[in-house]
C-alpha cells in the first residue's frame, strides 16, 4: 500500500507552477505559428485562415462550458430527488 499523497500534490504544483504555464504558453504559440508552415485547405474559407482551429477550439469549448453552467444553474437537483 502506497501513500497516495506522496506525488500528486507535486504534480499539481508542477502544473500550477510558473514554469509549466510558461511551457504551456510556448507550446500553444508554436502550435498557432505552425499554421504558417502548414498549408490549410479549408472547405468554407474561414477554416483555411491563420489560427482558425486554435480560436475555434477555445471559443467552442468556452461556449459549451457557458451552456453547461446555464443548464446546471436551472436543472441541478439534489441526489435524492427521485427517491420516494
Amino acid at each position: 500500500m502506497r501513500d497516495t499523497r506522496k506525488t500528486s500534490p507535486t504534480l499539481m504544483k508542477t502544473l500550477a507552477g510558473k514554469d509549466f504555464r510558461k511551457l504551456g504558453l510556448v507550446v500553444l504559440a508554436v502550435l498557432v505559428l505552425l499554421d504558417l508552415a502548414v498549408a490549410q485547405h479549408g472547405y468554407f474559407g474561414i477554416d483555411g485562415t491563420f489560427g482558425f482551429a486554435a480560436w475555434f477550439g477555445a471559443l467552442s469549448c468556452f461556449a459549451l462550458i457557458l451552456l453547461a453552467l446555464a443548464v446546471g444553474s436551472i436543472l441541478r437537483a439534489p441526489e435524492g430527488t427521485y427517491d420516494d
Partner: protein, 562 residues
C-alpha cells in the same frame, strides 16, 4: 440452413452462455474466454452472401454477411472477449450468462437480413441487457424497470413499423429506406430509442451506472452500437438524423461536464459519441458512412476501456463520485494510464483510434458543405476535452487526494483487459489501414496529413486551455442534473396520481350515488310490496298455504288417475 447456422458466431456465444451454467472454477473461466474467442474466429468464417429460410410464409434471411457485418461482427466478438476477460472474477453467473446472450443478440442483429430475424434478436438483447442491469444490486431495480419499459416501448414501435412495412412492401428484407410512410417512421423511432436519441435518451445515464462494475462494460458496447449499425443499413442520408445526432452530441457534453458520478459521466459521453455517429448516418455519403463504421468500431473499444477504468475505480474504492475521489494515479497507476489512453482516444487525439475515425465524419460534413453541421461537429470535437477527455482523468487521478485510500490497481484479469483495450486504441490509431480495409466503402481517406494533425491538436490544446482557465467552475458538485426522464419519473407520476385521485373520487361518488338509489328503490318496494305495504297486505301467509295444499292435492289426483 442447419449447417449455415452452425457458422453463425451468435451460436458460439449462446453455447458459451449454456456452458457457463454448468461449470465452476477454472472451467468457468475457460468458458468465459473461449466462447467469445470462438465467436471471433467464426466471424471470419461466415461466407459473404446470405442464407435464406422460409418461416410462416415469410422469406427470412437469418444470415446476411458483407463487409459491414464482418466489421461489426468482429468488433462485437472482440468486445465480448474483452468484457468477459475483465469480468473473469465476477461471481454473478446470471450477469455473465446474460452478457453472453446479450452479445449473441448483438451478433444476431448484425447478421440479420430480414426484419423478423432482426426483431427476435433485438428483443433477446433487450431482455438480456435488462437482466445485466438488475444484477447491479437492489439499487438497480428501479433503473432496470425503467430500462425495460423504455426498451419494450422501443420494441413495440419497431414491431409495429416492421408489421406495417411488410404489409405495404410485401417483403421482410432489410433494405435502405426513406422515411416516407408511417411504418418507416415507426421503424426509425424504434431504432432511435436504442441509439439514445431524444426524448428517451435518459435511459442510458439512468440504467448503465446502476449496473455492476463489470455489467456496464457489456452494456456500453452493444445496444447503442447495434442500433447505429441498423440505422446505417436502413436510413443513410436521412437529413433529420444530422440534427438529432448533433443535439445528442451537445447534450452529452453539457451533461457530462456537470456530472459528479464517473459512470454517469461516461454514460453521457456515450450519448455524445453516439450523436456524432447518428449525424454521420444522416450525412449519408460513402465517406460519412465509412466514418460511422470506423468510429463505431473505435468507440466500442475506447468507451469499453473508459468504462473498465470507472469499473476498476468502483470495485477498488467502492466509490464513483468525483467529489469523493481524487489523486488515484499513484495508487492505481495502470488504471490511470489506461484512462489517459481512453481519454486521448475519445478526444480523437492523433495516434489514437478516435482520430482516424471521427475525422472522417467531420470531413464528410465539410465535403457536403453542411456548414452548420460541420461547425457543431468541430465544436463537440473540441468539447470532448470537457468530459472524458480531460475532466475525468484530471479529477479522478491527478488532483490532490481528498483522503488516504489504501487501494491498488484491480486484479490481473481486469488489468490485462484494460491493457489490451488500450493497446487496440493506439494500434488502430497508428496503423488505421487494418480498420480501413474492413469499411463498407472503398477508402480514399488519408488521416495523417500535416494539416489534419495540426488542426486537431490546435483544437484540443486550446479547448484544454479554456478548461484549465475555467477549472474552478468545473469542480464536481454533488447532485444530479434533471433530464427528460423527469417527464415520466415526476410529471408522469404526478399526472398518474392526479388521475388516480380523480378516478378514485369519481368512483366513490358513483358508488355512493348508486347505493343511495338502490336503497331508495328498496324502501319504495318495501313500502308497497312489503308485508305491511298496500299490495303486500293482500298476500297473507294463509292464502299461500291454501294454494300449495290445493296444488299438491291436484297433483296427487292427476297422478292417481294416470
Amino acid at each position: 440452413m442447419t449447417t449455415s447456422l452452425f457458422f453463425s458466431p451468435a451460436t458460439a456465444l449462446l453455447a458459451g452462455a449454456l456452458a457457463l451454467l454448468f461449470t465452476t472454477g477454472i472451467a468457468r473461466k475457460a468458458v468465459l474466454l473461449a466462447f467469445p474467442l470462438l465467436a471471433l474466429v467464426l466471424v471470419w468464417q461466415v461466407p459473404t452472401g446470405s442464407v435464406t429460410a422460409n418461416y410462416l410464409g415469410y422469406a427470412l434471411i437469418p444470415i446476411r454477411a458483407d463487409d459491414l457485418a464482418l466489421l461489426f461482427g468482429a468488433v462485437f466478438a472482440l468486445a465480448a472477449f474483452l468484457g468477459t476477460l475483465y469480468a473473469l472474477d465476477r461471481s454473478s453467473t446470471l450477469e455473465l450468462t446474460s452478457a453472453l446472450v446479450y452479445a449473441a443478440g448483438a451478433l444476431g442483429v448484425v447478421y440479420a437480413g430480414d426484419w423478423i430475424t432482426l426483431f427476435v434478436w433485438w428483443e433477446v438483447m433487450a431482455i438480456a441487457s435488462t437482466i445485466i442491469v438488475v444484477c447491479g444490486g437492489e439499487k438497480a431495480h428501479g433503473p432496470a424497470f425503467r430500462y425495460a419499459l423504455i426498451h419494450f416501448l422501443g420494441g413495440v414501435l419497431l414491431m409495429a413499423g416492421i408489421a406495417g412495412e411488410i404489409a405495404m412492401s410485401g417483403s421482410a428484407t432489410i433494405t435502405s429506406l426513406k422515411p416516407d410512410s408511417w411504418a418507416r417512421w415507426l421503424i426509425l423511432a424504434g431504432l432511435l430509442v436504442n441509439v439514445g436519441a431524444p426524448p428517451f435518451w435518459a435511459w442510458v445515464s439512468d440504467a448503465y451506472p446502476a449496473s455492476s462494475w463489470s455489467g456496464m462494460v457489456f452494456l456500453s458496447v452493444f445496444t447503442t452500437k447495434t442500433a447505429v449499425y441498423v440505422l446505417m443499413r436502413t436510413f443513410p442520408g436521412v437529413e433529420v438524423l444530422v440534427w438529432v445526432g448533433l443535439v445528442m452530441a451537445v447534450y452529452g457534453i453539457v451533461y457530462a461536464a456537470l456530472e459528479n458520478d464517473i459512470r454517469r459521466l461516461l454514460a453521457f459521453a456515450i450519448v455524445s459519441q453516439m450523436g456524432i455517429k447518428v449525424a454521420g448516418v444522416g450525412i449519408g455519403t460513402s465517406l460519412a458512412l465509412n466514418g460511422v463504421a470506423a468510429h463505431s468500431a473505435a468507440a466500442i473499444i475506447y468507451t469499453a476501456l473508459l468504462v473498465m477504468v470507472a469499473g476498476s475505480v468502483l470495485r477498488q474504492t467502492g466509490k464513483t463520485r468525483l467529489n469523493e475521489l481524487s489523486g488515484l494515479a499513484d495508487a492505481m497507476p495502470l488504471t490511470a494510464f489506461a484512462c489517459m489512453i481512453g481519454a486521448l482516444a475519445i478526444a480523437a487525439f492523433p495516434l489514437t483510434s478516435g482520430f482516424v475515425s471521427k475525422s472522417m465524419i467531420i470531413e464528410a460534413a465539410a465535403k457536403e458543405h453542411l456548414a452548420a453541421a460541420w461547425i457543431l461537429l468541430m465544436a463537440v470535437s473540441a468539447g470532448a476535452v470537457l468530459h472524458a477527455g480531460l475532466r475525468l482523468p484530471w479529477l479522478l487521478f491527478f488532483g490532490a487526494p481528498k483522503e488516504r485510500l489504501h487501494v491498488t490497481d484491480p486484479p490481473q484479469a481486469m488489468r490485462i483487459a484494460m491493457a489490451l483495450a488500450a493497446v487496440l486504441c493506439v494500434v488502430v490509431g497508428i496503423v488505421p489501414d487494418g480498420l480501413y480495409v474492413m469499411l463498407p466503402h472503398p477508402v480514399a481517406y488519408v488521416p495523417y496529413t500535416a494539416s489534419h494533425i495540426l488542426v486537431q491538436i490546435q483544437l484540443l490544446a486550446f479547448a484544454a486551455l479554456v478548461v484549465y482557465l475555467m477549472r474552478d467552475w468545473l469542480q464536481p458538485q454533488r447532485g444530479i442534473t434533471l433530464d427528460l426522464d423527469w417527464l415520466y419519473r415526476r410529471l408522469g407520476a404526478w399526472i398518474a396520481r392526479g388521475f388516480d385521485d380523480i378516478t378514485d373520487r369519481g368512483w366513490t361518488r358513483l358508488v355512493s350515488n348508486l347505493n343511495g338509489k338502490a336503497a331508495r328503490l328498496h324502501e319504495l318496494l318495501l313500502a308497497y310490496h312489503g308485508p305491511t305495504g298496500t299490495f303486500g297486505r293482500t298476500w297473507p301467509t294463509g292464502t299461500m298455504a291454501f294454494w300449495t295444499t290445493f296444488l299438491l292435492g291436484a297433483f296427487l289426483l292427476i297422478a292417481a288417475m294416470g
